[in-house]
Amino acid sequence: MRLADKIKDPFKKSLLVSFLSHLGLVLFLYLNGHFFFNNDEVIIKNAIQVDLVALPDKAKPQAKPKVKKAAAKKPSLKKKPKFNKKDQSSALKSLKAMSAIEKLKKQQQQQAERIQKITQALAEQKLKKGNIVNKTNSLTGLDRIKMNQFYEAVRIKVNTNFFVPSFLKNQQLSTKVLLKIASTGVVLSKTISQPSGNDIFDQAVMTSIDKASPLPAPPDRLKRRLEIEGFILGFPE
């Protein structure tokens, strides 16, 4: 403020105030963002690319635009011009004119084709016909497959070891377990997040996890998450 007071010019004064307040605002926002927000890398969770799929069309020959046909017909219907000098120049003129028209028509046609191609390309991007798989984004394609393979491997390993006494067979019991595993697949902690109400069933659930341990190693993208946040196993669903 002292500095501002020294400058007598009111315009320069307000300019300085404005500059300093903007600088302060920028500093404030930067520091806020730096210290109070997460620096963790953003994990793209479960991104799904959905293609609208339709049944394939029957293969058809490409439809020719109508303009072409009409242009082809016309010359044959015209009468042959009488041959004389006057006619010759007029004939030449008309020929030139015709070629010019044809040129224009050709240009129009080409443009129409180009537009058609573009719109078709755009439409195809929205609608996939037949058994065409969309080229997925590299961020989710391979990693997605690895994740699904991991889930399936865990499901199979635990299910193979999941036995329940016959006398509990028809009792519709279900339990959920929160599991945390290391990057090698070793079980770090297991806790029942939703008990079934039947001790023996819950015991059978925990035993199946013990027998299935160590679980398959998770893919890189999931390692940290499964170690810290963990995941839930539903018995039977």
Partner: protein, 453 residues
């Protein structure tokens, strides 16, 4: 390219339940039988031979019950680490000379039954304890007593209690079977027996034919058809007899033609059967007291509608009919004549039997030259074959006349796989098949009563 990204962003989504955590369903478990340690009953009181024999018989009754029900794997007594005749029925320190769970855990026992029998003044006292070994916990302890003549029922009651304590639903151990039996060249007569083939009692003595038996739910009455001689007409006719189990048989329905295929209505006051007097073999509902008839099926012409059986809730009739050209299973609401065909496969489907929950029907179906037992939902879906056996000569055996147990766990049927027709049971998934009778008789058309305890 821009469009592509725009669409990609539009459809990207994180869609896990459970507050964003990854969720994996493990799927259904496989079931395994529980290891049961079942040492002999301790015997208390005067040690005389007849008491000892009875105690052993009771033990064998329970042992058979618990083996058949398919929930347990009995541990060989040779593996026991304790001499149970010397230890009390309760654990130490509750009982100073009690047993120790430390002797039962190492052999892998999941359940342990400790029981003792005392026979005094014509009365049997059974003291029982069921333990869950991994948690050294008592599941239940109960004392039973009855007169000596009802000792087997007592043992069956205990078995039912064990099954009920663990599954929530008691088993069929106290129930009866009525069946047609024939010995050698003798006549076909009716026999009443316990579900396990014991206590066999002859019910009829017509000395010609007593067939198509039925038993009331409370096992107090039986019905059957016999070729009685009509003096006026001077011919024999297939007449229906009803007999209280502890009384004399009485002629009930003797209309000209067939009076057969009877079954008791769950309400206990009516009986259903096929009567052909009106020209067509149709199903009638007859009041047991007034004998008033109510016609339930009406043709079509020349069709035979037989083997009626009413669903446990009394609303739907199941029967066999050849109206389509071949005998098939039909169901029909009791108050309408609109029959719905539920079997389409095969050439000859007959003998329907309702499951106690009214959801499924077991029947005998003819396929590739022999009969097998099938089970189907009353909607006609989920058709499953339950039996498939070969005789000793390598040919396919006939498995016929299914009848559901009162707890819905088993189906009893007659099979000729051993040469003679004997009674077998199988569970509703086609597993735990077991022979029940093992004698020189030939049995047909068994019918299972309801729960008797």
């Amino acid at each position: 390219m821009k469009l592509l990204i725009a669409i990609f962003l539009l459809f990207s989504s994180a869609s896990y339940a459970n507050d964003g955590k990854i969720y994996i369903s493990v799927g259904q478990a496989k079931s395994k039988k529980s290891l049961l340690a079942f040492p002999l009953f301790n015997q208390y009181g005067t040690k005389i031979k007849s008491n000892s024999t009875l105690a052993t018989e009771l033990y064998q009754t329970v042992k058979n019950d618990l083996t058949v029900v398919g929930l347990f794997q009995l541990i060989d007594p040779d593996a026991f680490l304790e001499d149970t005749s010397k230890t009390g029925l309760r654990p130490y320190p509750t009982d100073a000379s009690g047993f120790s769970f430390k002797n039962w855990m190492p052999i892998g026992a999941e359940f342990l039954i400790r029981a003792g029998v005392k026979i005094v003044a014509g009365e049997v006292i059974l003291e029982t304890y069921l333990y869950y070994v991994p948690q050294a916990k008592l599941v239940f302890g109960r004392k039973y007593n009855t007169k000596k003549s009802m000792a087997r029922e007592l043992a069956h009651k205990f078995s039912n209690d064990v099954v009920q304590a663990l599954t929530g639903k008691k088993a069929m151990f106290n129930s009866k079977i009525i069946v047609t039996g024939k010995k050698g060249n003798g006549p076909k007569e009716l026999y009443l027996m316990d579900w396990d083939g014991n206590n066999k009692v002859k019910m009829t003595n017509h000395k010609n034919l007593a067939i198509s038996p039925a038993i009331s739910n409370d096992a107090k009455m039986i019905a059957y058809t016999s070729m009685a001689y009509h003096r006026k007409a001077k011919t024999r006719n297939a007449d229906l007899f009803i007999k209280p189990v502890k009384g004399k048989a009485k002629l009930f329905s003797y209309k000209k033609g067939i009076n057969s295929g009877a079954s008791f209505h769950p309400n206990g006051s009516d009986i259903l059967m096929t009567i052909s007097q009106a020209g067509n073999a149709d199903i009638y509902q007859v009041d047991l007291t007034t004998k008033k008839t109510k016609r339930l099926t009406k043709g079509p012409r020349n069709a035979m509608n037989v083997e009626p059986t009413v669903s446990p809730d009394g609303t739907t009739l199941a029967f066999s009919s050849d109206r389509s050209g071949r005998p098939m299973i039909y169901i029909m609401p009791m108050n309408s004549k609109k029959a719905k065909r539920i079997t389409f496969a095969g050439r000859y489907n007959a003998s329907p039997s309702w499951s106690p929950d009214g959801k499924k029907i077991a029947f005998a179906g003819f396929d590739k030259g022999h009969f097998d037992i099938f089970i189907v939902n009353k909607s006609g879906f989920n058709l499953v074959r339950l039996t498939s056996a070969k005789k000793t000569n390598g040919k396919w055996a006939n498995n016929e006349s299914p009848t559901f147990s009162p707890d819905g766990r088993f189906i009893m049927f007659a099979s000729n796989r051993t040469g003679k027709k004997q009674l077998f049971i199988v569970d509703t998934e086609g597993n735990n098949e077991r022979q029940i009778t093992k004698d020189e008789y030939s049995y047909e058309k068994p019918k299972w009563s309801g729960h008797l305890d």
